[in-house]
């Protein structure tokens, strides 16, 4: 019994260590800076919540190593062995599009953006206009993430150096700052940040590293990473274009 519990306890200690900084920061500001003691009934709720977070992180990390990493890698190997670039790219697109289109953080940003657009008289201030604007923005971002993973996978296959593409992307973004309408710029940058969720990141990373490992002449360290970078950069460009077109 004790032997079985040991790995769990080790994992939980790790999660406690991961969480300790937040607890310390919040306690410091609450007690020292704002000098407000925490009421006793609140304290119980907070301790319960922290316990849940620790358990959650522990489960997530072991699930990562048991489920998300192996399936990402095994699919990368299977596609590399099959040798069909077409199906690999279709898969890459679906993975990018599918994981982004339903992302709650993106839905929230799109809604906020529609409100701004309506206030700025870019679109009519009706619910229908706002909904269609938000939906268009969501689709734009999801498409861009789909294309981003496709380009990223192509890069791994062909062995293109990442930094030229990314720097090229930065230059495009910087130039577009001058031509895109002001209200869309903040939204565009933020939509680059919200596309990469907690489940997508491990999966996409495992896919990239798996591909770079199974394709001859590729190095998993220099070629395997970089998919997330595309998925954060391309939405910025696409959203700015969306802001210019609409």
């Amino acid at each position: 019994m004790l032997v079985a519990l040991k790995p769990l306890l080790t994992a939980m200690t790790g999660s406690i260590r991961d969480l300790l900084p937040i607890i310390l920061v919040i306690a410091f500001f609450q007690i020292v800076v704002l000098s407000q003691p925490i009421p006793a009934n609140e304290l119980i709720k907070i301790i319960g919540g922290i316990f849940l977070v620790i358990m959650g992180l522990t489960f997530f990390i072991s699930g990562l190593e048991m489920g998300l990493f192996p399936i990402g890698e095994s699919m990368a190997h299977a596609f590399a062995k099959k040798g069909s670039v077409f199906w690999l790219l279709v898969f890459a697109f679906c993975l990018g599009f599918g994981t982004t289109v339903a992302e709650p953080a993106l839905i929230a940003v799109a809604k906020e953006a529609a409100t701004i657009a309506a206030q700025g008289k870019i679109i009519e201030a009706t619910d229908a206009a706002r909904d269609s604007y938000a939906f268009g923005l969501r689709m734009t971002v999801a498409l861009s993430v789909g294309f981003a993973i496709v380009i990223g996978v192509l890069r791994i296959i062909k062995g293109w150096p990442l930094h030229y593409i990314i720097i090229g992307g930065y230059i495009i973004v910087t130039l577009m700052n001058f031509v895109a309408p002001d209200f869309i710029i903040g939204i565009a940058y933020d939509s680059g940040g919200v596309t990469t969720s907690t489940i997508t990141v491990p999966l996409v990373t495992a896919l990239g590293v798996g591909l770079a490992t199974s394709i001859k002449g590729r190095n998993p360290m220099t070629d395997g990473f970089g998919l997330i970078a595309f998925a954060s950069l391309l939405p910025i460009i696409f959203v700015m274009i969306y802001g210019m077109v609409i």
Partner: protein, 257 residues
Amino acid sequence: MLEWFYQFLLTFVSTIRDVLPIAIVLFGFQFLVIRKAIPNFRKIIIGFFYVLIGLTFFLQGLESALFPMGRLMAEQLTNPAFIFEGLSTVPENFHWSHYHWVLLFAFLIGFSTTIAEPSLIAVAIKASQVSGGAIGIWGLRIAVAIGVAVGITLGAWRIITGYPLHYFIGAGYVIVIIQTLFAPKFVIALAYDSGGVTTSTVTVPLVTALGLGLAETVPGRNVLLDGFGLIAFASLFPIMSVLAYAQLSEYKARHKT
């Protein structure tokens, strides 16, 4: 208790909804295109289940304990009554240094939430495996966390002072490009990835609350225009800090021999 259980179920359902499209794509392609049995299928299913349960616990715990307090804290710290001791609005001739507690909070909350970010832990584990330990799990996580902390502090300072967002982002890109030319090649892709992983579950809600709190109270700021953009800082600065981390380790290794 009943309400809590209801909340828990809601979180669980929404987590399932997040995982569902991913599962459909994965298993759809596995069965229709690859058409081969998945090795250790049972273990992978259990792993997915753990991820589901883990995320549910994690989000539920954050939502019931840390987020409400962190959000309230961001509101209280940016409130003029706290900063200018009893004034209800911000005076005309304020200096950004009045906001020192807000800036310290931005730095520390940026650092600490990044350390707890599950997707960063995932990338760090992979990077450490692939690099054969040349990139340490904790080294990468701390480098990224410092980047986020500096980024959010600077982003908060920008909202207070009101300089345009794109100046900072433009300058940041220039620095990243210069660093890329000199940084060790093996770390570049990983550094670019670090920008995207920092901003998911834990960081975004607290940082957004901070940005909105500032944009609402500082005179002359527009909530809708200035409230955005902090996330952009949190994605840009880790790239610099991870490149710098690799440059430093290389420099140290070279001067030891």
